[in-house]
């Protein structure tokens, strides 16, 4: 098992190198003078020249790259123009908000999509099957920001069930002492049920928005995969041996069907991390997505670069975990690879 992990780690390294190179290049292909971008719209010619020197933008490209990498290694992502604070600090402080939202959305999504897909496959042609296909197609067609807005309109404005989309907590609540940064968990640790409820209420709509968005590919994949497995020869053998429905569907079919679904999760994560940005804007969520968007609108470039890099590294780590998960489930990969 350890050798599998080691082997996978080795393949991750070139990917990380690629990510670093691309993020480096992104800020160097800015039209015009990169220094002017980093100096900001209100800069004078002198401050631009100064920035150029400080950031080393007058040096040859390879030298800039070396500096860039060493900065990254020290955790230095530059400073935000608007707040003046180091980008790395701001990102780490806002990461838990995004993580909590995305995780909850994913869990909700899996909890709905996987059973739906399985049922749709097992009862092919029934109303569940048709619902599944409609949900899948609709979910894929709806823009995630539109879904969020619709949910806000329906549940906040019309029905009054959900709180105003103002962020992680309503105006009266205060954040719990920080342990993980996840409000739900921290509130439980602190024993503060009132704030826990408030945090949960704020989380529900945005999490559902993300869930609806990622529901579609997961349900579709689960259904297709289950259908394929249920028609396979080894399931036929299992049925011919008289194994009962539960064993056939769960022990034989489901475990095999999950393999392609696990691989799909990688793609789903890619969409989720992107959709995160949009959902944070709709619900005024103080995560790294909205951080980057605000910075963009103010032409504040260092946060954007830090954001892209962080998201990419996160994504690489997630894909790595999915790879490992896959080899745990599938002995063919474990023993042959």
């Amino acid at each position: 098992m350890l050798t599998t992990i080691a082997k996978r780690l080795v393949t991750v390294i070139p990917t990380l190198i690629g990510v670093v190179i691309v993020t480096f290049l992104l800020t160097r292909v800015l039209p015009g003078d990169p220094a002017a971008y980093f100096a900001g719209p209100a800069a004078t010619a002198d401050s631009i020249a100064e920035i150029r020197k400080t950031l080393g933008l007058d040096r040859p490209l390879p030298e800039q790259f070396v500096h860039y990498v060493s900065d990254l290694a020290h955790g230095n992502f530059g400073n935000s123009l608007s707040t003046g604070r180091p980008v790395s600090v701001e990102i780490t402080s806002r990461l838990p908000a995004s993580a909590e939202l995305t995780l909850l959305g994913l869990i909700l999504s899996l909890a709905i999509a996987v059973p739906l897909g399985i049922l749709a496959a097992v009862k092919q042609g029934s109303w569940i099957d048709h619902t599944c296909r409609v949900v899948a197609t609709a979910g894929v067609s709806l823009p995630v920001f539109f879904t969020g807005l619709l949910l806000v309109y329906a549940f906040y404005y019309l029905l009054g069930w959900a709180p105003a989309p103002v962020g992680r907590l309503d105006a009266f609540a205060t954040a719990p002492p920080q342990i993980t940064g996840f409000y739900l968990i921290d509130n439980l640790f602190a024993g503060d049920l009132e704030t826990f409820r408030s945090a949960l209420a704020q989380l529900i709509l945005p999490a559902f928005t993300l869930a609806i968005f990622s529901l579609a590919p997961i349900a579709r994949m689960t259904r297709a995969s289950m259908l394929a497995v249920l028609a396979s020869e080894f399931v036929r053998t299992a049925r011919a041996s008289g194994l009962n429905d539960r064993t056939v569907i769960i022990t034989y079919a489901f475990r095999n069907a999950m393999l392609p679904v696990v691989t799909t999760l990688g793609m789903v994560f890619s969409f989720l991390l992107g959709a995160n940005v949009l959902v944070e804007k709709v619900f005024a969520w103080p995560g790294i997505g909205s951080y980057a968007v605000e910075a963009l609108l103010q032409s504040d470039f260092a946060p954007v670069q830090g954001f892209v890099l962080t998201m990419a590294v996160l994504y690489v780590a997630l894909n790595f975990t999915i790879d490992i998960l896959y080899s745990v489930i599938d002995p063919r990969v474990r023993l042959e690879g």
Binding site: T237, A240, S241, L243, N256
Partner: protein, 582 residues
């Protein structure tokens, strides 16, 4: 017989709901199996032999249903039984084994656990002793080191071993009836023999009844007491094996019997009486005594072993403690030499993995050799890289007929376009009309109705697709044609026709054949000389008659012995069994 039969099927009709309406796959089929009897159901594709047994087990597709008739298992009405009752019966009283053993096993579950699942389901063992029982059963199917193999996954086992596991699954609960649906198709002929003998031994020992579904009459006659012949969903003949094999009554059975390649018959004999081979007949050209057309000398093909290349491979080598046990390269073809004369038909025979396909692909110049020489008409074609060869005029002189007619036709080309492809690329004809005329001429030569030329492959039958492949191969009048198991995917009656066609074309056009096959009976019919390969080396070679009647090498003898050949001159099988009292 006064005893109630174990399985009594009467007037069974099975229908399928398809896009084109209702299709009757099985019509008015009667079938009886007595206790301890082995019955063979024989038929070609579309005969409904498999559907009948799926209906008995009630594991038909969603679109299928039993429309009429009755299925009685001793006193149980299987047709109308509840699903729960059927589930109880499956695996416990009636079991089934299928073709393609590796695909029949759950790929991510240990084989031992799979056997346990069946035992636990039918309560044949307590959870505390079920593992022991599973190991015991693995032993009974002759799997070496059963305790170790219990923990194996299907991909770690060979095809033959997988089939043993499947048999273990089927027999774990000691059922009364075993249905074996083409259990040996796809396996090597020597493995076929061991698997069939295992099945027979185990079923006889337990007094089980067996249904053996197969397309191979010889196999059925050898192992079964009674044979039921099916055609297009109906039973055309049902009689004791000896009668069916030695004195068939129904015309279809006669046709099948005649078409089955066996010792002592010639190609012409394969065809139904009174049918002459199709295609134009021209007088046979004399075989000139010139230098050999193809000479292969010390041909070697090596492949690097999986996992020794690239970054992963280097890592592996660095982290390994001892030196690697296996050499880094795998020799698919290990220094073979042979020749093919003009107008001759040479058979290249062996089981899977022996290197015959690799050899033929190298001779075709589709892949490059590692070492050795390939001389064609005096020219060293082995030295020309495969990529360049496609563009040389020499290309038109060596062509190939492929094994899988479906796979070897471009799904987007009509038959005419497929046949015209070599003419367009390498031929001299110009102009649409001239090429079309040539396509029609070729179609006539191979017996393909000219109206079918504008159809796509999925609109043609297996035999028709095979003809298109042959027409394409001979379009440029090549000197040497390599035939890679050209009839393996065809029904036996279609095979008879195609083999005759191939022989005729060879004589008419003066071609030489290199016939690659695993089927010795077919090789016997078409080839003048035969070469037997094993593990990349030539084991024996010589004139077909000599090699197949008095083989010198032990391996050739084993191969020949493995071919199912019922010998009804000796005491009939059923009588023999009764004598031994099993």
């Amino acid at each position: 017989m006064t005893e109630i039969p174990l399985l009594d099927v009467r007037d069974l009709t099975v229908e399928f709901q398809t896009r084109r309406g209702i299709v009757k796959a099985v019509q008015h089929v009667d079938l009886t199996i007595a206790k301890g009897e082995t019955v063979g159901i024989v038929g070609e594709s579309g005969s409904g032999k498999s559907v009948t047994s799926y209906a008995v087990m009630r594991i038909l597709d969603r679109a299928g249903r039993i429309a009429d008739g009755s299925v009685m298992f001793t006193n149980l009405d299987l047709r109308n039984a509840a699903e729960d009752a059927m589930r109880d019966l499956r695996g416990r009283e009636i079991s089934m084994i299928f073709q393609n053993p590796r695909a029949a096993l759950n790929p991510i579950r240990k084989v031992g656990r799979q056997i346990e699942d069946v035992l636990l389901q039918h309560v044949k063992a307590a959870p505390s002793e079920v593992t022991e029982k599973a190991v015991e059963i693995l032993e009974q199917v002759r799997i070496a080191r059963p305790r170790e193999r219990y923990h194996a996954y299907p991909f770690e086992l060979s095809g033959g071993m997988c089939q043993r596991v499947v048999i273990a699954l089927a027999l774990a609960c000691q059922p009364q009836l075993l249905i074996a649906d083409e259990p040996t198709t796809g396996l090597d002929v020597t493995t076929q023999k061991t698997v069939m003998e295992l099945i027979v031994e185990l079923t006889r020992a337990r007094g089980m009844s067996t249904i053996l579904i197969t397309h191979d009459l010889g196999l059925a006659a050898l192992y079964c007491d009674k044979i039921v012949v099916m055609e297009k969903g109906r039973v055309v003949e049902a009689a004791p094996s000896r009668a069916v094999f030695t004195a068939p009554e129904h015309p279809y059975t006669k046709k099948l019997m005649r078409a089955t390649p066996r010792p002592g018959v010639s190609l012409r004999d394969l065809l139904p009486e009174g049918e002459a081979p199709t295609g134009a007949t021209i007088a046979k050209l004399p075989t000139a005594e010139k230098a050999p057309l193809l000479v292969v000398e010390k041909l070697i093909k090596e492949y690097p072993r999986k996992g020794t290349q690239g970054l992963a491979g280097t890592l592996k080598k660095l982290t390994q403690q001892k030196p690697a046990p296996e050499p880094e390269v795998f020799r698919a073809v290990d220094g073979i030499s042979f020749s093919v004369n003009r107008g001759e038909s040479v058979g290249l025979v062996g089981e899977s993995g022996c290197g015959k396909s690799t050899t033929s692909t190298m001779v075709m110049r589709l892949i490059d050799k590692t070492d050795g020489t390939i001389l064609f008409d005096g020219e060293d074609i082995g030295a020309i890289p495969a990529k360049k060869f496609a563009l040389l005029p020499l290309r038109r002189r060596i062509q190939m007929v492929f094994q899988d007619p479906t796979d070897s036709l471009n799904p987007r080309f009509t038959a005419a376009r497929a046949i015209a492809d070599p003419i367009l690329r390498l031929g001299d004809l110009k102009g649409r009309d001239a090429i079309r005329a040539r396509c029609e001429e070729l179609a006539r030569q191979v017996g393909l109705p000219v109206e079918l030329l504008d159809r796509f492959p999925h609109q043609l039958s297996g035999g028709q697709k095979a003809r298109v492949g042959i027409a394409r191969a001979i379009a440029l009048k090549p000197d040497l044609v390599i035939l890679d198991e050209p009839t393996a995917a065809l029904d036996v009656s279609v095979q008879a026709v195609v083999l005759n066609l191939l022989q005729e074309l060879k004589d008419t056009l003066g071609m030489s054949y290199l016939f690659v096959s695993h089927d010795l009976n077919v090789v016997r019919l078409l080839c003048d000389r035969v070469i037997v390969m094993r593990a990349g080396k030539i084991v024996e070679e010589g004139a077909t008659d000599r090699v197949l009647f008095s083989p010198e090498a032990a391996y050739t003898r084993d191969l020949l012995a493995a071919i199912p050949h019922p010998n009804f001159d000796k005491v009939p099988a059923a009588a023999a069994r009764m004598a031994t009292g099993s």
